[in-house]
């Protein structure tokens, strides 16, 4: 089973953010693999262990992104593809998906996996857009995959504790739910082997597609509290009653 995993490199989770217009200042920030994508990668590696085949790690962004691809290779991906683009953070979801899809189209694959969303932009659309651009069936929030005879039985998570089984043909695009597996550690042998694995670097231009922006992040900002804290006074009983009233009629959250 040949699987392409789309992996994004994002600012480290606790990095103190310095806002710069519609993005952040990248100097003095550490980057890491987007955590939701690490679950997709783990799922791909498990499927490869079961069914054989190849796992390709695909990512897009500046040169530093190669570090994250190497991590995927160290964990067991067979080769990497890096779409080199210094301006990647400015692409809208359709733009990013357009380039990724073009790169994917050049490969032979059975499955494309993505994480649910990225920890930076959090658009959560890449998998679904890829399916559209590749004209493939898809499913999202996948908890479990069973593959047999050219098709899959998937377990999909719904809201409020509900789940559903879905039958889906191959090839397809799946977005994997976070936390469904325990992500493996890179082994020493894996890290050494990764040095010899191929990372193909391609430019967006070489893919022969152009992405017209459909949406634009104009600016980002720290949300300021518009109200001051309203302290509710009186005995605990009185304050509690006041609070419930406020929550019901003012904040309207209950």
């Amino acid at each position: 089973m040949n699987i392409i995993v789309c992996i994004k490199q994002v600012p480290a989770k606790d990095a103190p953010l310095s806002i710069n217009g519609n993005w952040i200042k990248e100097s003095d920030i550490a980057f890491e693999m987007n955590e939701p994508d690490s679950y997709a990668l783990e799922e791909a590696l498990r499927l490869k262990e079961k069914h054989g085949g190849e796992v390709i790690a695909l990512s897009m962004g500046p040169e530093r992104v190669k570090q994250t691809i190497k991590e995927a290779l160290a964990k067991g991906a067979d080769r990497g593809i890096h779409i080199a683009d210094d301006n990647f953070a400015q692409l809208d979801p359709l733009g990013a998906a357009t380039y990724l899809a073009a790169a994917i189209k050049k490969e032979k694959f059975d499955l494309v996996l993505t994480g649910l969303q990225s920890d930076d932009h959090g658009f959560g659309q890449t998998g679904v857009l890829l399916a559209g651009l590749l004209d493939l069936p898809h499913a999202t929030i996948i908890m479990a995959i069973e593959a047999q005879d050219g098709k899959m039985r998937l377990k999909r998570e719904l809201e409020a504790g509900w789940f559903q089984h879905i039958e889906c043909p191959l090839p397809a695009v799946l977005s994997i739910q976070s936390g469904i597996n325990k992500v493996r550690y890179a082994t020493l042998k894996g890290i050494m082997a990764a040095k010899k694995k191929e990372i193909a670097t391609i430019t967006p231009q070489s893919l022969g597609v152009t992405a017209q922006p459909t949406q634009k992040v104009e600016k980002i900002y720290v949300p300021t509290k518009t109200k001051k804290t309203e302290f509710l006074t009186g005995t605990p009983k009185e304050a509690a009653a006041k609070l419930v009233e406020k929550l019901k009629f003012e904040a309207r959250v209950i």
Binding site: G122, E159, T214, Q215, A251
Partner: protein, 329 residues
């Protein structure tokens, strides 16, 4: 401008966030002098369609088909694409549900457009609509605009608007128009199968709209049931700051903070939590924050909308009682 709200139902039961989206649409319509229509997809929907007709919408569009009875991304995309091409709405709004995440971006892309998803609000800047969403897990907000001509697609986060503010139809009922859908079985590639519920193996606090969180102020595990009673009366989930989970008094998946979950619920009630930065980064995206702490200088009050400076052991039972009363009233 014509606004279309795509509502959501499953097995003939409403996903109530559909009405939040309707409220949003009505608000935008007022702001921009536009009309609102509502669409519903499925099979055997007459009573749900009737619900919609009782709201202030210009019409209800009913898309029924055997193959729409169970949701599939292919089925919904084909049907909605036909609807959009025939009725030509300018702005199409969805609730940001698991289901919408599964098909709406693709629907927009098929029409060469983009979807701004998971919005927490919008702004009207001299006639131009700007949609606000969160980035960096709620640490920042982002103002996003559309860069193409209509139609535009957007979805709203659960709780961003209030379903109870939907305006009813004051002049009778809106017309319910059946829209024919051309859909064949070959177009639907995934086959939905059994729906089932599972004993919740893991709690996903990021999906909980109401959260009651406890901190060191709870002092001992024997006291946690008092907080759980508040959560139950509220209809919310219990969560905790790191020290509580470190002690094993609550499982780690209940932990909120830089090393636990990051949440942005409608309501976050912090009981006996000081507000150390490690905790605050995990919850300051919450819409309404209430803090109860006996230290008036606790940093949590800096981000709280409502605060009670008191002993949580006196406030918790009072709160449970007041919430129960409100539920029953």
């Amino acid at each position: 401008m014509k606004i279309l709200v795509v509502t959501e139902q499953r097995q003939n039961k409403w996903n109530n966030t559909s009405f939040e989206t309707l409220a949003a649409a009505q608000q935008i319509a007022k702001d921009t002098s536009s009309t609102v229509s509502a669409a519903i997809l499925g099979k055997g929907l007459s009573s749900l369609a009737d619900d919609l007709a009782g709201k202030n919408v210009s019409e209800v569009l009913l898309l029924e088909h055997d193959l729409l009875e169970n949701y599939t991304p292919d089925g919904y995309c084909v049907a909605l694409k036909q609807l959009i091409e025939s009725t030509k709405p300018d702005l199409i709004l969805f609730p940001h549900s698991y289901q919408v995440r599964d098909f709406a971006p693709k629907l927009a892309a098929q029409l060469g457009k983009g979807m701004i998803g998971d919005c927490i609000g919008y702004k009207n800047e001299s006639g131009k609509l700007v949609f606000v969403r969160q980035m960096f897990q709620g640490k920042t907000n982002a103002d996003v605009t559309f860069q193409s001509a209509a139609p535009w697609f957007a979805s709203f986060q659960a709780g961003a608007f209030r379903a109870d503010l939907v305006e009813p139809n004051t002049s009778g009922k809106a017309s319910v128009n059946a829209v024919s859908v051309n859909l064949s079985a070959e177009q639907i590639r995934t086959k939905p199968q059994d729906l089932f519920k599972e004993a919740k193996s893991a709690v996903d606090l990021t999906q909980a709209p109401l959260i009651v969180a406890i901190g060191r102020g709870i002092k001992a595990p024997e006291n946690i049931p008092q907080a759980e009673a508040v959560a139950k009366a509220l209809g919310g989930e219990i969560a905790a700051s790191r020290p509580i989970c470190d002690e094993g008094w609550l499982p780690m998946e209940r932990q909120i903070g830089s090393s636990g979950q990051t949440v942005a619920p409608k309501l976050y009630l912090a009981l006996g939590i000081s507000g150390a930065i490690q905790h605050v980064v995990g919850m300051k995206g919450a819409r309404t924050i209430v803090a109860v702490n006996k230290d008036q200088n606790a940093p949590i009050f800096e981000i709280a909308d409502y605060g009670i400076v008191a002993d949580i052991f006196e406030v918790m039972p009072a709160l449970t009682e007041a919430l129960e009363k409100a539920k029953n009233s």
